[in-house]
């Protein structure tokens, strides 16, 4: 089976008022057809930029990107537009934004089909099919505000997959959901993708995604640092860059979440004890913040600095 996404040495440099910023620094990625791939990394690691490149919303500054057999590296606007319209479905983090408050669930799912001229009977059948698959049969006439957050996200999946795109891209699909709901939603996503036969790339902070992913790619600082292929039990393999260097060694496991306490002396302050942040797990885990204790006291001027 051919790979759905093949990216090699992807570099994307954004011009900013403060000078050019490299969002991707030679990232390599491969996603097999029919796989659910999770791209995990901290904020600013370049995962959303990667998603925009795969979606055809942007072009790489250097490197090559082949998606579903088409080389998007130097594709024209027209080609990218066609790619976005015909081959890609996108699910956003903000599910409220994804659904029009003025359309019923059925209308929202049917809209992309209607835009492509699908006959009404086929459209209705497809809507029924998708509603079944996302577990919302009989809710076709509901409006957005009549749905819970999880239900809205499920509808967003259905809208994105209505036209049977070969590639589904999801940007932080559980970002606004609580843990239990997120788990449910991810299950729905996996089942849906499997049923539709699509390839899915999920960009997320959420480690729960690892449970449904066939492939997990950890990115940091614009590069893929580790990759796990196979089920949740498969080992993660450090990724070598183009020069053959391994990614940097990972620090110690994550400490518990930080907590804020009120000082005993009764002064107003923010005190963090053992605050830490870890991304990923196992050999591919990354540290956002090493265990740190710090107190910001009222009336003082505090500066947090670093490279």
């Amino acid at each position: 089976m051919a790979d759905a996404v093949i990216g090699s040495g992807l570099i994307r440099i954004h011009p900013t008022p403060g000078g050019p910023v490299a969002a991707l620094r030679g990232l390599d990625i491969t996603v097999g057809t029919g796989e659910v791939a999770a791209v995990i990394g901290p904020s600013g690691s370049g995962k959303s930029t990667l998603l925009r490149l795969i979606a055809g919303l942007d072009r790489p500054s250097a490197g090559t990107l082949v998606v579903l057999g088409d080389d998007l590296t130097d594709a024209s606007d027209r080609q990218l537009g066609r790619h976005r319209r015909d081959r890609v479905g996108v699910v956003e983090q903000h599910y409220r934004r994804a659904l029009s408050p003025y359309l019923t669930v059925a209308d929202a799912i049917a809209l992309p089909l209607a835009l492509r001229g699908v006959p009404v009977p086929d459209r209705e059948a497809r809507v029924r099919e998708l509603l079944e698959r996302i577990g919302l049969p009989g809710r076709g006439e509901a409006l957005r505000h009549q749905l819970s957050g999880g239900e809205q996200q499920r509808v967003a999946f259905a809208v994105a997959l209505a036209t049977r795109p070969p590639l589904l891209l999801a940007d932080e699909p559980t970002g606004e959901l609580d843990g239990a709901t997120a788990e449910t939603i991810l299950g729905v996503l996996r089942d849906l993708v499997r049923a539709e036969g699509s390839t899915c790339v999920v960009v997320t902070h959420d480690e729960l995604v690892e449970r449904i992913a066939d492939r997990v790619i950890h990115v940091a600082d614009g590069r893929a640092v580790a990759e796990r292929v196979g089920g949740p039990g498969a080992p993660a393999v450090p990724v070598r860059d183009a020069q053959g260097w391994l990614a940097p060694a990972l620090p110690a496991p994550t400490t518990p979440l930080s907590r804020a306490v009120r000082p005993d002396d009764g002064t107003d302050a923010v005190v963090l004890e053992g605050a830490a942040r870890r991304y990923g797990s196992g050999a591919t885990a990354m540290v956002g913040l090493r265990p740190t204790s710090v107190a910001f006291r009222a009336g003082r001027f505090h500066v947090v600095t670093g490279p």
Partner: protein, 1034 residues
Amino acid sequence: MAGPIASLAFARLRRRGATALISMAAVGAAAALIAIVSGIGLVASDATVARTLAGAGADRPLVRISRFAATATDRPDVMERADATVTTHLAGFTEPRVRGVITRELQDLDHPVFELVIGVDDPAPLVTLVDGRLPVPCVDGRACEALLLSETAPEFDFSTARPAPDLGLTIVGRGVIDPAVPFGALDQRGPFGEITIGGGDYQTGRRSPAVLMVDGVDAISHAPAFDGTGRTYVWTAPVDVGSIHPWTAGDFRASIEGLRNDLAAADAAFSIDSPVTQIDIALGQADAASARLLLIGSLGVAILLAFAVFLALVVRDDVAAEVARLDAVGARRRDRLAFLVLEAAIPAVIGGVIGWIGGGLVVAMLAGWAAVDPWAILAGATLSPTALGAAALVILVAIVTTVLATAPGRSWGGGVRTIVAMVLTAIVVLAWQLAAAGPLDAAALARSVSSPVVVLLPPAVAFVAALLLATAMPPLLRAITRRSTHAPLALRLSLLSLSRDPGRPAATLTLLAFSLGAIVFATCWSATLRGGIDDAAAYRSGLDLRVTELGTGLSIAPSVVPVDRYAALGPDVTAVPVFREGSTTQPGSRVDILGIDPAVLPTLPGWRADFSATPVTALADRLRVETPPGGWAVTGHRLREGAPDLDLRFRYRGESLRLDAIVWTKDGDSTRIALGTIRDGMTRATAPLPKSAIGGWLTTLVFYNDRIVAGSGHQHGVFRSSVRFEGLEGLVDDREIPLEIFTVAAAIIKAPQVTDGMVLPAVVSPDLAREARPDGTLDLHVGSGTIPIRIVGTADRVPTVVSGDPRFVIVPLDPFIVAVASEVPGSGRPSEMWLSVADPQRQAEVRAALAKPPFRFAQVAARSDLIAEHAADPLSQAIVWAQVVAALAGLALSIGALVMGAVTDLRDERGELADLEAQGVPPSALRWHALARTAWLAIGGSIAGLLAGLGLAVVVTGALAIDAQGNLPIPPLQVVLPPLEIAAVVGGVLAAVLGSVALLAARTYGRATLGERRAGPARRGSRPWTAEPERADG
């Protein structure tokens, strides 16, 4: 693909609720306004035309064709053809024509009366019989029956008449014929009664003729007795008033022109009278009014469209989100464009069509109310291609501006810069046009109905105002915010939020400023027009009533002497005599002379402070002349009291001359007494004195040539003689006086007067002041005399001198009367009386008294009548109503915009207020913050609106030199700023807005905490506009 996009747009329209409805209402109101404005204009035009043609009786509108023929054989063929031509051309616009012929006056051979024989075809419907019966049709033209048309019965047996040897008329009855048809003002007073002042023809001393009417035009015109007699043929057709409307006036005009051309082609002697000119004047006034309505309408439309754009800005984020969703599901560019267009077009088209229909219904109702055919009005105005095009344009503009305002990702920079450049260019062109044309008078405004100046001025002003506000507001807000560090928290928060994102607040403020400006403008302009009506009425009537009388029996010049009669009107009536006379200062330059008591000048209600740079009291002081010891009286030789005759003793030598004496009567009049021809050697001349002259003053003796002075017998040369009078102390001593008369000249012997050698003070118009000699004096030519005046002040206008470019002289009444009587013997009487009636209720009684003796045929101009006449004018009313509607619409929109802005703020879609609350800002501060934010906008918008409205009122009043009726305003309009009304409008807006916002803020932030609001079940109204409660998942 339009299908799903249209479905989406309709679904949004269906569920968006309030904003969509308001947007529809705004565009609908704009379309309705156009429909109503165009309809009101036509209804008012029609009412004006109907008013113009509303005369009754003798004043009925008629088409009258007449032709004089010297004899019966003067082209009879033309007469026959003319009859057919008249009938053909007037069909559809007039009632059936009536034919008549009127012969010239003839002396009856058997009675001491002159007779006028007229023939009328089938006169029965036109005659009101007093006694007897109608004559039978005349057949042979020799012995006919006739009806005596006379208001008075004959004094003698007048059963037969014989105006010519070959014609005997049997008078079978007496009556009066219609005062308009077919002859118009036919003198039917009759020759039989006493001739009194106001009755009979005292100007010529002739009695009225006896009018004898015969049934049959042909019989009279072909009567052998009248073969060589001049006659006038008349065809008269009363205009069918119901057939003349603004939309048929052109056809009527064409009919009259066709008739005129056909008759002129047949014979040049035909003349036609018709009301075409009056109709054209009325239509011209109506066009001017329509242009003003269009100004108001375009102002209103601009406000409404601005409101629609404001609404588009309010929902811009929502539209952007929808477009993003469309992008996400693979919509093409054309889909996005279709969505944006449909999103704007559906409410605009639905609202526009509904508004148009609603406007049409209102127009139909107005037409019905004004008793005009609604279908004709709708067809001529609301459904006219121009009006339909205007409505379509409004809808199109609404769609385009809304699309531009809502298009996501579109920078306002480039596009707006282009639009701004275009609009500024257009404004420059408009300003140039205005500057080049000067103030638009009624005719110019009437011509400008379709002018871009009229149509584009209000929107252009609106756009500039919006641009200025949008440009100036952000830096201004930032500056205020920087200086508000010590302000209360709510105030500072409100300033911060405004300055951080000034887009929508700027739009709100602009809308408020513009709509409030429109209200203030409408209020000021309406007050200015009302003030103009009051000013014009006061200006034209002097005081409350302005009375003119025809002269006494010997004088046809207007005169109100004896002035003592006016004392009988009552102690509460102040009568001010005024001398008015036309004069010249140089050949061909007319000057109005107004002689008035200087003390009255400051009390004239029609005098406005802007008439002169010098206060009127100062002008009055300068006009005062010290009264001489004997007072201001015309003097001469005092005639003996009780002597019934004027008896002059003299010694005369030389050629024969006629001698007249002028006697100034005790009641202030003068009379001229003919003493006959004085021949060489005569020593005495006598003549009876009129009763009023007995005991008067002989002021002047006039010797003149009594021979033929024109034609073939014209004698010319110098006639010399001499005269020595005896016993005429006060007029002339007993010295011998040489007389030299050249042809038509006269030798005048005048009594010395107190004004001899005196140069009277005068206030003059500026152009006359420029004509003065270096010493400030000027000669007035009055009749045959010259009166020098000394200029003591200038004024641009003086009440009762009605002229667009007045040239006048104000002089002190009493000395000027004496000077005129001296310089022009026989003249010098007050010609008008201005009356002030303390109790307005008494005016009717005073006017009734003025209609009876001892007053002569008084003509009265009443200030109240002039005001009422203007107030009832349909064009004025239409404009005032349009202003009221525009003002109310603007008021509603102002309040609506501010409240909607506040509601949007309170929705807090960006969560800024929630963040503030999370950071510890108490709900009370948030309430005050919302109120303060609205208050800033309301106060700023009110100030800007006030300034804009006042500025617009000043500019429009200066630019449009027309009064409420569409005429040149005399005196010019003066901007009136009604402080109470303006304060009420502004205060009302502020109170309504702040009250509403306070209520909404209290409902929104009435709960203790943010968490409580979010956690608890959504309370109705706790999130205004679109409450959308969140649901907990799973």
